[in-house]
């Protein structure tokens, strides 16, 4: 990498400074940022996106750090059957994630390569279009949100999502949560849930839990509207793909293979 993360953050902070007319927003390094609630880096995004660098991800064989971190902080229950399963981020074989079942002669191991999947926070989200109560909606900054208190549990969004990113609480999840974090709400039976790009952490000036947990730095989160952002740079310098681009949903999770 030509620019290290700290330098990069400073750069983006300076550009944010120029844009916001002098507020010392993004000047803090990540460690300080976590305690600083007025930080702009994770709050003033206009188009949030994630870049998953599979070259780095695949190096950590069998790693589940992003999954564990996410499911832990969000009180996601763990069931021992797939029927009741709830997942916000999980791994799927490359061929399932990218519908590449037909590719016969490809790089060895590619088809079985585990790919982390999560909500794509589509620019044009079909789940939002079909929801009859606006319990799921798209924020100005691109995050597809979910209101568990309004959701009627019709599961139309699950039928509409082309990525299988949504889960339903078929039963009361609370007895199946290992240790409940009081600062994050638990859900009740009968509502849909999914990844929200850690909106609650972004508001506190923190990066998404999965991004923070990834030792390999394979998950990069940032603002696509900011030309200086790391996500923009990664997409500029590398060939990337998205899941089911032909459907016109415009996913905001990009994969570097």
């Amino acid at each position: 990498m030509s620019v290290d993360r700290r330098k990069f953050l400073k750069l983006s902070g300076l550009s944010a400074l120029a844009l916001t007319g002098g507020k010392p927003a993004g000047l803090f390094a990540p460690a300080e940022r976590r305690q600083n609630h007025s930080s702009g880096e994770t709050q003033n995004g206009k188009r949030w996106a994630m870049v998953v660098d599979l070259r780095k991800c695949v190096r950590e064989k069998g790693c589940t750090k992003c999954i564990d971190a996410c499911h832990d902080v969000h009180n996601v229950p763990k069931f021992d059957n797939t029927k009741d399963e709830i997942k916000w981020i999980w791994k799927e074989n490359y061929e399932n994630a990218f519908e590449a079942e037909g590719d016969e002669f490809v790089k060895e191991g590619l088809r079985e390569m585990p790919v982390p999947l999560l909500c794509n926070h589509c620019d044009n989200p079909p789940c939002v279009r079909v929801c009859p109560t606006k319990a799921t909606w798209k924020r100005e900054d691109g995050i597809v949100m979910m209101d568990w208190h309004r959701c009627i549990g019709c599961r139309y969004c699950m039928a509409a999502c082309p990525y299988g990113s949504r889960s339903f609480n078929w039963r009361d999840p609370r007895p199946f949560i290992k240790n409940i974090h009081e600062e994050f709400p638990t859900r009740m039976r009968g509502v849909v849930e999914k990844c929200t790009f850690c909106d609650e952490r972004l508001a506190r000036g923190q990066l998404p839990a999965c991004v923070e947990a990834c030792n390999a730095k394979a998950l990069v989160f940032g603002d696509l509207e900011d030309p200086e952002s790391e996500v923009r740079r990664l997409l500029h310098d590398n060939f990337s793909i998205r899941r089911k681009p032909a459907l016109g949903t415009n996913p905001e999770v990009y994969y570097i293979v």
Binding site: D84, P132, T133, I152, G153, A159, R171, G190
Partner: protein, 385 residues
């Protein structure tokens, strides 16, 4: 008028009590589901809609099919249908109520359904389906109530009811069209993403609904001495035949498009339905039975001799009804999820509680039909046993 439902013989009351017991059992199972959650069903993260939503879809068709007797009578003055229109309307009302109940039992948070009206969402097809079904129920209640009341008083129905009846005709078409849009507007599910979905829904509805009506007419004639006349039944049978031919034609269109284009995501679902995928074949026998019954019903209906023979017509209508129920009430919904969006073949089987809750809802429908038909027939001066 409704008090007429309380007058009846022993056979009537035995039937009513039997239905009440069925409804009671279904309700107990629903309480169980309500307490524990939808985990008591066979649904999963991969197959998120199943038996309930399929019954809902099938019954929207039954409700819409009332138009098949209303339209010829009011628009083309088909006098033979005079004794039948009220039966059509009184079939539509319980069908819509069953639709609503099937939606209700499928909801994770049923008491939040009010949110659909608190936060009306015009870009959601489910919102429009709620409006369409609610409106259709209201229209049919008003129309049947006014026309039956006039008949009871032996006066012509008030003039203002005519436009309401005319409105109910396109409205009937709309309920099944919007229900088809629930499915055919989803890019995620190639099996449903087909422009022929709404036409096919209407064709299968206009075959299965009137076929059920013919069966009910036979029952009424046997147990209640109410005869709509041979001519009316035969006319209806011809409509059933043509609707069924259109339905089968549409299915063949789907198969051609999928299998000639060879697009895997389209063929996979049909392969699962008729041959099974990855050794998973839960629906295969049902789909071939459905196809076989469709052929039998068409042969019996297309041949004038068998169509006019009442026992043959009876068999044809039963075969046709089961054929469409298997196709629409069993195969159509879950196959949209198999294979899943991630290419996984996860099957679905309804559980015992799920089936009992569904039987309970059908019990409520049967009870409503019994009561409404009894009221209609009492007004029409017949004395059922």
């Amino acid at each position: 008028m409704i008090e007429k439902a309380l007058i009846g013989g022993r056979r009537y009351w035995t039937w009513v009590i039997f239905l009440l017991v069925v409804i009671g059992i279904g309700f107990l199972f629903y309480l169980h589901q309500f307490r524990v959650g939808l985990t008591v069903t066979g649904l999963s993260r991969d197959v998120t809609w199943g038996f309930y939503i399929a019954q809902f879809t099938f019954l929207v068709g039954v409700a819409a099919s009332a138009v098949i007797v209303v339209l010829p009578y009011y628009l083309h003055n088909t006098k033979e249908f005079g004794k039948m229109t009220i039966l059509g309307e009184f079939l539509a009302i319980p069908a819509v109520i069953m639709c609503m109940l099937f939606i209700f039992v499928d909801m994770g948070q049923p008491f939040r359904i009010i949110n659909v009206f608190r936060y009306p969402t015009f870009h959601s097809m489910m919102f429009w389906d709620t409006i369409a079904l609610g409106g259709y129920l209201l229209l049919n209640v008003i129309i049947s109530r006014i026309t039956l009341d006039s008949e009871r008083k032996s006066v012509p129905p008030p003039k203002w009811i005519k436009p309401v009846i005319y409105l109910s005709i396109p409205w009937a078409v709309s309920i099944h069209t919007v229900t088809a849009f629930l499915y055919s507007g989803l890019a995620a599910r190639p099996f449903w993403l087909t422009a022929v979905m709404a036409p096919r829904f209407l064709a299968s509805a206009f075959a299965a609904g009137p076929a059920l009506l013919i069966l009910l007419i036979f029952i009424l004639r046997k147990f209640a001495n109410y005869d709509v006349g041979k001519a009316a039944i035969q006319k209806l049978a011809v409509i059933v035949l043509y609707a069924m031919l259109l339905n089968v034609f549409f299915i063949l269109m789907e198969l051609f498009t999928a299998f000639y284009s060879h697009i895997p995501e389209h063929t996979a679902h049909f392969k699962y339905l008729y041959f099974g995928l990855e050794g998973k074949t839960a629906l295969v026998p049902f789909m071939w039975i459905s196809a076989g019954l469709a052929v039998i019903s068409i042969i019996l209906l297309i041949n004038p001799k068998t169509r006019k023979h009442e026992n043959c017509l009876l068999i044809a209508c039963i075969a046709l009804f089961i054929s469409i129920w298997l196709d629409k009430g069993l195969g159509m919904v879950v196959t949209g999820f198999i294979p899943s969006v991630l290419g996984r073949v996860v099957e679905y089987t309804p559980t015992f509680p799920e089936i009992m809750i569904s039987v309970g809802v059908y019990g409520i429908g049967a009870l409503l039909i019994t009561i409404l038909y009894r009221v209609a027939l009492s007004v029409k001066g017949e004395v059922p046993g």
